[in-house]
């Protein structure tokens, strides 16, 4: 009997794309479940507290969330943790992974002040156990026109804001990152007005998609990704999502934000992902997907990074070309 071998059909054609993507999602879920089972990893760290074991990956217990984006192929853990913009640790993409090792993420406190009923300070462990940690897969679009798909772990920032009890006068929220010259070699290399600051309008900050983030891929954030606590605002360019946050400050006026202050023509306060408003130096119509082959990296950028259904109403009646 003659058995003919056909090499003409690639395997991706045989398996319908939706099925194998679902399988990926399923596998991510399975990995998360596995993580729950192994949730006692921290014991290892407690045995030898003097060791810098804290730097090693620690599992987080995560629950599923309806706000997670489905049907997307995740960017690899390696790419998410070695290709970073975190200028406190240097300007090259590999610098944060190389230099963030000296960042001490424990003990860590976050202060909530400004227009609040009462100034409060909260420790990182308290923050971690404050609400169930959800896994939220989000598109991540950098202003430099590259993008990833990241399975973050955290809960809506609105939970924390409600706890912070801002006064009715509070219309904006400012986020301040850690400024530690000893651990952050980038502070001397770049002329940004440190500490890094970012800000949101109150309704943006209260939006359920805005994530107070503690982990990715079911593990605590590696230092280079903004440990131990950062913001993720998936419909805005990545720099709006402040990393290693030490202070949340409520104000009545639009707060100063680092890049906007540095180059207001290039980085607007809103910085919503918008393919129709070019950056002065490059087009924002398309993006390069990190981890894809050089032949298929380029893909169209979506309005509000694909989250328009949920967030477009925040900007009703606003000229997004003016308020870029």
């Amino acid at each position: 009997m003659l058995i003919k071998k056909s090499n003409e059909i690639p395997s991706s054609e045989i398996t319908p794309k939706s099925v194998y993507l679902n399988r990926r999602t399923f596998m991510t879920g399975a990995a998360a479940l596995g993580a729950v089972g192994l949730g006692v990893d921290r014991v290892a760290g407690m045995l030898e507290p003097q060791d810098e074991v804290e730097a090693a990956a620690t599992k987080l217990q995560t629950v599923k969330s309806p706000l997670s984006t489905s049907g997307l192929e995740l960017t690899s853990y390696k790419d998410i943790t070695t290709y970073n913009n975190f200028y406190e640790f240097g300007v090259e993409k590999g610098d944060p992974a190389a230099n963030a090792g000296h960042l001490k993420t424990r003990p860590w406190t976050m202060t909530v002040d400004g227009l609040v009923k009462q100034k409060k300070t909260v420790g990182i462990d308290e923050l971690l156990s404050f609400r169930p940690i959800e896994e939220r897969v989000y598109r991540h679009r950098c202003v430099e026109a590259w993008s990833m798909v990241i399975p973050w772990a955290g809960y809506s920032l609105s939970e924390l804001i409600n706890w912070a009890e801002p006064l009715p006068k509070a219309k904006y929220v400012q986020f301040l990152s850690l400024k530690d010259s000893a651990a952050m070699p980038g502070l001397q290399q770049i002329d940004l007005d440190w500490p890094y600051s970012e800000g949101l309008r109150m309704d943006e900050a209260m939006h359920p998609l805005t994530l107070l983030t503690f982990g990715l891929y079911g593990e605590v954030l590696p230092n280079q990704d903004g440990a131990p606590v950062r913001l993720v605002v998936p419909w805005k360019y990545g720099f709006k999502s402040a990393k290693s946050i030490v202070k949340i400050h409520f104000t009545s006026d639009q707060p100063r934000t680092a890049w906007n202050e540095m180059a207001p023509r290039e980085y607007g306060f809103y910085s919503n992902v918008n393919p129709n408003v070019d950056h002065p130096r490059w087009s924002q119509k398309s993006e390069r997907r990190i981890g894809a082959s050089i032949f298929s990296q380029r893909q169209p950028t979506l309005m509000f990074n694909g989250y328009g259904d949920q967030v477009a109403s925040l900007y009703n009646g606003m000229d997004l070309k003016k308020n870029f």
Binding site: M262, E266, I290, Q297
Partner: protein, 232 residues
């Protein structure tokens, strides 16, 4: 070594030291060959590395950026190295042989410039003429980069001995001073693409500045010496 191009340079009365030294330091042929091979290898290394990484599917998380940066840096560095030949050669007659590598280095700079431009045309504009025109009109860093490349085109085209003969040494040399402006445009292109506050282009800028100032210093010195001779 009866090289007609060099003779014409002598006749036109420019770059006297250039030719005199060229003939005076007949380098050992074997050493010269070894050096030529080494220069070729060094110049091909950035491309070789890219191809090696490309075929190994190892161009990093953002392969488009990897190729863009590698070809851009190779162009700028080779341009600056090319511009270093003359000031270095002037330091000592024993360095005269360096000039034999100038054309090779310059052509390699142009080669990488072409690859860099091609990367942009292919991976950024998708060979869309409309998008390109739009980019050049709107984005000054693209205009600067394109100008830098454009200035190299006539230089590459007139890099043959035949061209030097045809143009005459003096005119050929004048034309090839465009290299300075190409390198300056290249450095401006670099400053305009990095974020404000980022100082990574400072090294190459300083090196280029030193190389250009060395030429000014040389001119001044020659003028002073000539005046001294006239006075005497």
């Amino acid at each position: 070594m009866g090289c007609p191009a060099m003779t014409s340079v002598v006749k036109s009365g420019t770059a006297v030291s250039f030719t005199a030294l060229y003939h005076s330091t007949m380098m050992n042929k074997r050493v010269l060959l070894a050096l030529k091979v080494a220069v070729w290898l060094v110049c091909l290394a950035p491309l070789g590395l890219l191809l090696y990484r490309g075929f190994g599917n190892n161009l990093g998380p953002d392969p488009t950026a990897t190729v863009t940066h590698a070809t851009g840096f190779a162009t700028l560095r080779l341009l600056v190295i090319t511009l270093a030949i003359t000031p270095l050669r002037r330091l000592s007659p024993r360095l005269a042989w360096l000039v034999r590598f100038r054309r090779l280095l310059g052509l390699f700079a142009f080669f990488y410039g072409c690859l860099h431009l091609l990367t942009y045309l292919w991976l950024y504009s998708g060979f869309d003429a409309g998008a390109m025109v739009d980019d050049i009109a709107k984005r000054r860093y693209i205009l600067a980069g394109f100008t830098a490349w454009l200035l190299l085109v006539p230089l590459a085209a007139t890099s043959t001995n035949w061209s030097i003969r045809k143009l005459g040494g003096k005119r050929w040399q004048a034309l090839h001073r465009l290299t300075y402006f190409s390198a300056i445009c290249g450095v401006i292109h670099y400053w305009w693409i990095v974020k404000k506050g980022v100082r990574t282009p400072i090294t190459i800028t300083l090196v280029l500045a030193v190389l250009l100032l060395a030429r000014v210093a040389w001119l001044v010195r020659q003028r002073v010496e000539r005046q001294a001779r006239v006075a005497a």
